[in-house]
Symmetry: C2
Subunit: 319 residues, 2 copies
DNA sequence: CTGAAAGCGCTTACAG
DNA sequence: CTGAAAGCGCTTACAG
C-alpha cells in the first residue's frame, strides 16, 4: 500500500508537507504542491481513511444500516422509501445490506462498519446476534417483524388475514382458496393463520392452499388451473397484490364470478380496481426509523414500549 | 470517549487482555473475561472501528456508494434493483446517498467513506467533483445520465421521444399534447426534444406542453382540464407511466377517443393496457454495475468505450 | 494466561 | 513555508 511516506520520499519533502498538500494545499509552496500531487498520482496514492478518521476523531458515522432479505418486492420499496425519508430528515445516510448469502459474515461486516444503528427489515434476530449487537452498544430495531423483547415495528398480519376472511364471508363466498408464496415467513404464517382461523370460526373450510413463487405469471397460471379444477370456487385470497394481479387476469379471462382480494394496496391497485388489505408500508418504515433516530439521542429508556403494532385496513373495490 | 485503556484500569488488567476479551475471549481466563465484559458494559464502551481497521489493515471496503437524487419514483426502484443484484453477485454492499440537501457536504462525506466505487444515478458531475474523484483514485460511473468523457450508462431518451411521436403519428393523431414533470432534467429535455423534433419533421405542431408535479392526481386533474379545453385533442404523450395512469383514467371517464402513450413500462402497465415506451431500467443498473465491478479488478483501460447507450422500445397496447 | 511495547497511516501543534 | 515528533485507539507478536 502506498502511504504519504512514499510520496514524501519521492517528492523529497517531509510527511507533514505531503499531508498539508493532500488536504487542500494551504500553507504549501506552489512548486512543492505540484511536486507532491504529481508523486501521488504516479504512485496511485489512495488515502487511508481509517488512519485519517482515527486521528481526527471522526467516530460517529452518521449512517444507518438497513438489512433486507430481498429487495425485489414493491412492498420493500415502500418500506425503504419510508426509512429513506426519515433518515434523511435526521441527516443520516443509508447503508443497504443483504443477508441472503453468508448471514454470519455479513453480520460481522455490519458490526465492523461502526454504524450509528441498524434496521432489520422483515427478519428476526438470533440470540447470538442480539448479544453481539448489545456488546457493541448498537441501537437497532426490527421493521415488519415482531419478536419478544426487541424493538419491533410491524403490521398486524393476523388481523389483516382475518379482515380478508371477513370480507369474503360478507360477500357470501362459500368455497374459498388461498394463494401464497412458497417461502414460509412470519408474515405469511400470521396472515394465513388469521385468515384460516376466521374462516373456521364461521364454519368454512379452506378449499385451496396453494404456494407459488412470487411472480405474476405463476399466479396467472395456477389460478387458471384452480378455477378449472374447482368449479364452485367463489373467493380467492392472495398473499399480495402482485400475485392478485395475475389471478385477476386469469379469472376475468375465464369469465368466472370469483371474488378476489389482495394484500398490500400497491399504487396501481386502485387503477386495477382490486379489493385489498392496505398495509401502511411507508409509515412503518418512516415511524420505525424515527424511533431509532430518537434512540440515538435519548437512548433506550427503561420501560419504553418495544412492540409497535400498526393495523392494515380493508380497501373495497370492484374485484 | 471510552477506550480499552479505561476498561483495563477499571478491570485491573492490561490493555492487551482487554483487547483479547473483547474480541471473543480466546486465551483469556474465565474470571478475567467476566470482569472485563462487565467493566465494558458499565462504561458503555464502543469500539473505535477506525483504530481497529487501521491496525488490521482493513482498507478495502467492499461497498459501493449509490447516489440518488430521489427515490420515490418506481423507475429508480428498478434501477436500484439492477444495481443491487449486480453488486451482490460481486459481493459488494451498497451505501445509499442522497444529494438533494447539501450536495457538497454529502460529496465529501462519500469520499471520506473510502468506498470501492461510486454510482451516480440520473445526475451529472461538475468539473470540481470529477477532479476530487480522480485525485482520490475513485472508480465511478453515471447511470441514466450521459456526460462527455465520463463512463455513462444511459437509455436514449431522444430516441424514446421520437418513437412516441412516431407512434401517435401512425395512429393518425393530429392534435398532440405532452404532459411532463415540472423539473427540468436531462432525461426530460432529451425525451421531449426527440418527441417535438419528430412531430415537426412530420409537420405537426405540439398543441400542449404541460408540466406538473410527479403525481397521478395532478395528472388526472390536468388531463381532465385539458381534454375540456382542447376538444380536438387526439394524442397525449406522458413523461412516464405513473403520470399516464392518471391521464388514462381522466380520458376514460370523459369518454374521449384519445390515444395515450406513457414512458417506462412499469410492471402494472401491462394490466392497465397502457401503450408505452419500455425503458430497460433494471438492465441499465445491472450492466452499469457490472462494468464498475470490472473496473475494480482491471482498472479503466485506455481507449475503453465510455458511452454505453441502450435503446428503449415501443410497447403497443390498447391505450 | 498476561502485560509492555511496537506500530498501523495519518494529522497537527510546535519550533524553526 | 517546512519537518521532526507526538499521538489518535487498537491489535499482535513477544517474552514472561
Amino acid at each position: 500500500m502506498v502511504t504519504i511516506k512514499d510520496i514524501a520520499k519521492i517528492a523529497g519533502v517531509g510527511v507533514s508537507t505531503v499531508s498539508r498538500a493532500l488536504n487542500g494545499g494551504a500553507k504549501v509552496d506552489k512548486a512543492t504542491f505540484q511536486k507532491i500531487i504529481e508523486a501521488a498520482k504516479k504512485l496511485k496514492y489512495k488515502p487511508n481513511y481509517a488512519a485519517r478518521d482515527l486521528v481526527r476523531g471522526n467516530f460517529s458515522k452518521k449512517a444507518v444500516g438497513v438489512v433486507l432479505p430481498v429487495i425485489a418486492h414493491p412492498f420493500f420499496f415502500e418500506v425503504v422509501r419510508g426509512i429513506y425519508d426519515a433518515l434523511l430528515e435526521g441527516d443520516y445516510n443509508i447503508m443497504l445490506f443483504n443477508t441472503s448469502r453468508d448471514r454470519e459474515e455479513v453480520f460481522s461486516f455490519i458490526i465492523r462498519e461502526g454504524l450509528a444503528g441498524i434496521i432489520f427489515v422483515s427478519e428476526g434476530l438470533s440470540e447470538v446476534e442480539k448479544n453481539t449487537l448489545e456488546i457493541n452498544q448498537y441501537h437497532y430495531i426490527l421493521i415488519d417483524h415482531h419478536q419478544k423483547n426487541t424493538m419491533s415495528f410491524y403490521i398486524d398480519n393476523e388481523f389483516g388475514g382475518m379482515t380478508a376472511a371477513r370480507y369474503l364471508i360478507s360477500q357470501n363466498c362459500e368455497s374459498i382458496g388461498y394463494i401464497g408464496e412458497s417461502i414460509d415467513t412470519q408474515q405469511q404464517n400470521d396472515r394465513f393463520g388469521g385468515f384460516k382461523d376466521e374462516l373456521k370460526r364461521n364454519n368454512r373450510e379452506i378449499l385451496i392452499d396453494e404456494r407459488i413463487p412470487m411472480d405474476e405469471k405463476f399466479s396467472y397460471q395456477s389460478t387458471q388451473f384452480l378455477v378449472e379444477k374447482y368449479p364452485d370456487l367463489d373467493g380467492l385470497f392472495y398473499f399480495c397484490d402482485k400475485l392478485a394481479y395475475g389471478g385477476q387476469k386469469a379469472v376475468r379471462e375465464k369469465g368466472k364470478e370469483i371474488k378476489i382480494i389482495g394484500y398490500d394496496d400497491m399504487p396501481s391497485s386502485v387503477y386495477l380496481d382490486l379489493t385489498t388489505i392496505r398495509q401502511p408500508a411507508y409509515e412503518i418504515g418512516y415511524e420505525g426509523s424515527k424511533v431509532l433516530l430518537n434512540m440515538f439521542k435519548a437512548g433506550y429508556s427503561e420501560g419504553q414500549e418495544k412492540q409497535y403494532r400498526l393495523l392494515p385496513e380493508l380497501q373495497v373495490r370492484k374485484s
